[in-house]
């Protein structure tokens, strides 16, 4: 009895007939419209290079599947959102950055004023305006209680002073949504935080890129000195920023934590291993099997969680579990890729495997990012320990 084909990138896909048709439509369109130069890059693509592709998706009406139709979205189901992600990433194409579309866009839709909606939502869709997220600071990564950037009301403006760090794409962004301290005496401390929308062209802002270990500049830092932000750029109520930031429903986890990331890395590891001879090593075979088995388990969980999320029945633990497992699985897969590559795994430059060009070290560094910074896996585990398992402090 011959076994059916094994494909670790489509495990437990459970489209209904309408979904299947949609998947087919997306697949065809992506095949025809994706610029080849964007495919299968082992390093990050900066926002400017991504703009034409963003625009194409916008014009096709698929840029914001999860936004309500009245704001220019698709009002799509979670399954459709996942299908879009899967079909775009299937051919190794990049997905648009989430800061405008997934983070601040939905927040503005949720609590923004009519003016804020009218001003900010359309250019997020078109890709004309790039956003960055200004939460982290030098002393406040995972620990927002220690936020030091302060905003003081002066007439109809806030005057902002502080230093934001680790803002992805900060040096490419036009606007930043930032958490700032507006009441220094509030208890608990996070009760004195507000969310501001800040035009990065305002006087008093200096943006500097931060070079990463990978050799590119993914993050930036922003120095804010007496920056005047109009009062109407306050999102939500004053001192309500913590709650506003936590309104995100977490559906973006379903794209950033997708098991496909690990699946693609494992397939690369297998191809590289054929080349280097690692497939003849018991250790490689065992680790590959262990990772593939973890991947299939995670894929099952992922589909299950998506189905529950679609019915608004997802448990609280879902988001941290996807963050932990998805992040660690991708890391372990990238480490196996490097190990399988042997001497090639230490090269700074690309290697050619069959028709593909890959760079194991770059892939590995890319995956390290996942568990760094705010929301690191240790903290996610602390959250589950306390809030799900009820373990004492």
């Amino acid at each position: 009895m011959p076994s059916p084909t094994w494909d670790n990138t489509t495990l437990f896909v459970d489209d209904n007939p309408a979904d299947r048709a949609f998947r087919h439509e997306v697949r065809e369109w992506v095949g025809e419209n994706l610029p080849a130069a964007l495919c299968n890059r082992s390093t990050r693509i900066d926002p400017p290079e991504l703009k034409p592709w963003h625009r194409k998706l916008y014009e096709r009406g698929w840029i914001a599947p999860h936004w309500p139709e009245e704001y220019g979205g698709m009002g799509a189901t979670l399954t459709q959102q996942i299908i879009l992600f899967e079909e775009i990433s299937r051919v190794g194409a990049p997905t648009p950055y989430p800061h405008g579309l997934n983070f601040i866009g939905p927040l503005i839709i949720d609590v923004g004023t009519p003016e804020q909606k009218a001003k900010h939502l359309p250019p997020i869709l078109t890709g004309d305006i790039t956003w960055c997220q200004g939460y982290s600071e030098a002393g406040a990564g995972s620990d927002l209680v220690r936020l030091e950037t302060r905003a003081e009301l002066d007439g109809d403006h806030f005057v902002v002073n502080g230093h934001k760090m680790w803002t992805t794409n900060g040096h490419f962004a036009d606007w930043m949504f930032a958490l700032v301290r507006t009441d220094r005496n509030a208890t608990p401390r996070h009760a004195g935080i507000s969310m501001l929308l800040i035009d990065l062209k305002s006087p008093g802002i200096t943006v500097r890129p931060i070079q990463t270990i990978k050799g590119d500049a993914e993050f930036a830092e922003e120095f804010l000195v007496d920056v005047r932000v109009p009062r109407e750029n306050l999102l939500g109520a004053l001192n309500d920023g913590w709650k506003v930031a936590n309104r995100l429903l977490g559906s973006e986890r379903f794209t950033t934590g997708h098991p496909r990331n690990a699946a693609v890395l494992l397939n690369k590891a297998r191809q590289v291993a054929e080349l280097t001879g690692a497939t003849r090593e018991a250790g490689f075979l065992h680790r590959l099997a262990a990772l593939e088995i973890d991947l299939i388990a995670f894929s099952a969980y992922y589909r299950h969680a998506a189905a529950l999320h679609g019915e608004k029945r997802a448990p609280f633990s879902m988001a941290p579990v996807i963050k932990i497992v998805g992040g660690e699985l991708g890391q372990r897969a990238s480490e196996l890729l490097v190990e399988a590559a042997g001497g090639y795994g230490a090269l700074a430059d690309d290697m050619r495997v069959g028709n593909h060009v890959i760079n194991p070290a770059a892939e590995m560094f890319e995956m390290r990012r996942v568990t760094v910074g705010s929301g690191a896996v240790e903290i996610q585990r602390n959250i589950i320990a306390k809030r799900v398992l009820g373990l004492p402090s």
Binding site: N267, A297, Y301, A305, L308, V325
Partner: protein, 371 residues
């Protein structure tokens, strides 16, 4: 995590939970072990009376036409409550017999099985599944109708009145009933009180009317039967692991050391979180594979993934549980040892982690298209 069940499934799961709670548990297991009983007769009678075996029998053959997933809901609870009943083995037998093309052959035996008057358990290579050593050492000579060789590690062999011998390997596959009297049965006891029997067939003649299937059909049924057993054991392990985790969480919330509950130490917290995540992932995995199995769409590698992971996690969880309990966990008196021993038996039964991860490799590498 909510399994997104249908209403009848939910109802069944609730019934199963109640029955297992009423009839199982550590105290009951101790009583059975003291009596050297392989089966909890009371619980088993109740299960037979509740017609759980009928869930997996096709409607056309007098059953409820549900699937392996449905019976797994009960197996998970049986694992949770340490219940000692041949539910998995009987259900697998019933599933196989009711799916034979020739309904007449299986008819009488199946009816006896369902009403609890004759216990028939599978005897397959899966009982001692091991890479390379999978062939159970039994051969069937079709022309002469002779069965020869031996099968180790058959579950509930102490009480079985007949065996469903299923041979998938070799030139002459067969699925057939063999009455206990025809086999030589050596029963050994496992650490948890369950048993592992070696059946030996010395040129046993199998009358044609006992044969359920031969040829390609037998091969297919034998393979499906083995997948059923592996998946069912995985479901039981998930319930077991979840129960061991619950016991441990309760303990570490209360037990004090250095003036704090030990559950406040971060290292133990993270270990407990990893166990929780494993149980969550494995539950999703096992039920997704069961759904695919019932739909006739599963890949056999998925079965090995499920059993490998369920075996590994259960052992890791009971090991961690034992360690977190400290000295008290090492006493016969404490219940955590019962979970530990049951995990040892169930994780080895129908193939352990390393065997299944090798089987997984073989199945995916041979089938696998590299993208």
């Amino acid at each position: 995590m909510d399994l997104l069940l249908t209403e009848p499934q939910k109802l069944f799961a609730e019934t199963a939970t109640r029955l297992c709670l009423d009839h199982g548990g550590p105290r009951r297991l101790r009583a059975l072990r003291a009596a050297a009983a392989e089966i909890d007769a009371d619980a088993w009678r109740k299960i037979i009376a509740s017609e759980w075996l009928a869930t997996v029998v096709a409607e056309s053959r007098g059953g409820q036409g549900l699937g392996a997933l449905d019976v797994a809901l009960a197996l998970e609870q049986a694992g949770h409550q340490l219940l000692m009943v041949p539910l998995l083995e009987s259900a697998a037998t019933a599933w196989t017999m009711s799916r034979a093309e020739d309904a007449a052959r299986a008819g009488a035996g199946l009816a006896d099985l369902l009403r609890g008057s004759r216990l028939i358990v599978p005897a397959t290579a899966a009982a001692s599944w091991r890479y390379g050593g999978g062939a159970s050492g039994v051969t069937y000579d079709h022309k002469a109708g002779l069965l020869k060789g031996s099968i180790p590690f058959v579950a509930y062999g102490g009480s079985a009145e007949a065996f469903l011998v299923a041979i998938d390997a070799g030139a002459q596959p067969v699925v057939t009933i063999v009455p206990r009297s025809e086999a030589s049965v050596t029963v050994a006891r496992n650490v948890d009180g369950s048993t592992a029997s070696r059946l030996t067939f010395a040129d046993v003649h199998v009358p044609a009317e006992q044969v359920i299937a031969t040829g390609a059909e037998a091969k297919r049924l034998a393979l499906q039967l083995q997948d059923f057993l592996m998946l069912g054991a995985a479901a039981e392990l998930i319930g077991l692991a979840a129960a061991a985790l619950d016991v441990t969480l309760d303990y570490i919330k209360l037990r004090q050391q250095f003036g704090r509950p030990i559950g406040s130490f971060q290292v133990l917290q993270h270990r407990a979180v990893n166990a929780f995540i494993d149980v969550e992932l494995n539950r999703s995995l096992v039920y997704r594979v069961l759904a695919a199995y019932d739909a006739g769409e599963h890949h056999p590698a998925m079965v090995s993934a499920a059993k490998a992971r369920a075996s590994r996690s259960a052992l890791e969880i009971v090991r961690g549980a034992l360690q977190m309990h400290g000295a008290i966990g090492y006493t016969e008196e404490h219940d955590i040892g019962l979970y530990y021993k049951r995990a040892m038996a169930l994780s080895a039964q129908y193939g352990g982690e390393l065997s299944h991860s090798t089987r997984f490799s073989e199945l995916t590498l041979e089938a696998g298209a590299l993208s």
